[in-house]
């Protein structure tokens, strides 16, 4: 059955790869365990430059998700927004705990994500299908 939606939201974010590499070098495991899930850390392998680019893209995805969820108060824990990568390399967003609650409150029924990175920058775009119309008050 086709899921009905009334509107879309789009979030985008850009992160400097060098910033993430420097943060990993400075804060190490504390940073990694605070921001990324086990699955994400397992997905971000390779030489440090490549791993940093993958981490930066995932951080951008988390921020892009926040832009579509639009939390009015406390933001979800970063690990409640996971970029899940399947065996062929396709990525999707998995929400848990407070991020999942925020999505439900916002009427978000589906999320799609696209990640990209070059040597210097990593970017993520997130599209959300929303199942009810937003009420705009003039």
């Amino acid at each position: 059955m086709e899921e009905k939606h009334d509107s879309f939201r789009v979030g985008v974010d850009l992160v400097r790869v060098a910033d993430v590499a420097e943060t990993v070098a400075h804060f190490g495991d504390r940073y990694l365990r605070r921001i990324y899930t086990e699955h994400e850390l397992a997905s971000c392998t390779g030489v440090p430059e490549v791993a940093a680019a993958s981490l930066a893209a995932r951080f951008a995805a988390k921020e892009a998700v926040l832009k579509v969820l639009r939390p009015a108060g406390a933001r979800p824990d970063w690990r409640d927004i996971e970029v899940h990568r399947d065996e062929v390399g396709a990525c999707e967003i998995c929400l848990t705990s407070s991020a999942a609650r925020l999505a439900a409150e916002a009427g978000v029924t589906q999320l799609a994500v696209s990640l990209t990175h070059e040597h210097e920058l990593a970017m993520a775009v997130v599209v959300a299908a929303v199942s009810r119309r937003e009420v705009r008050v003039a």
């Binding site: 605070r34 951080f59 939390p71 933001r75």
Partner: protein, 83 residues
Amino acid sequence: MTDDVIRAVLAEHGRLAVDVAALDPDADLYQVGLTSHASVNVMLALEDSFDFEFPEQMLRKRTFESIAAIRAAVDGLTRAEVD
């Protein structure tokens, strides 16, 4: 003392486009270059400096929007540690 530590953390980790020493305590840090990722660095460095951990309910943009806002958060958390 607390403000000095906060300014030192911002100078080292905030990647701001201005001189932190000259910043008004109420100046909007996002308007002077604080990014989401840099705010994570600031958060971790503040935790190192003051020996506490920011709880999830304080992880909001407003917590890091100014030196005064950070000061209020630090004061609240250090008081909670004492209590």
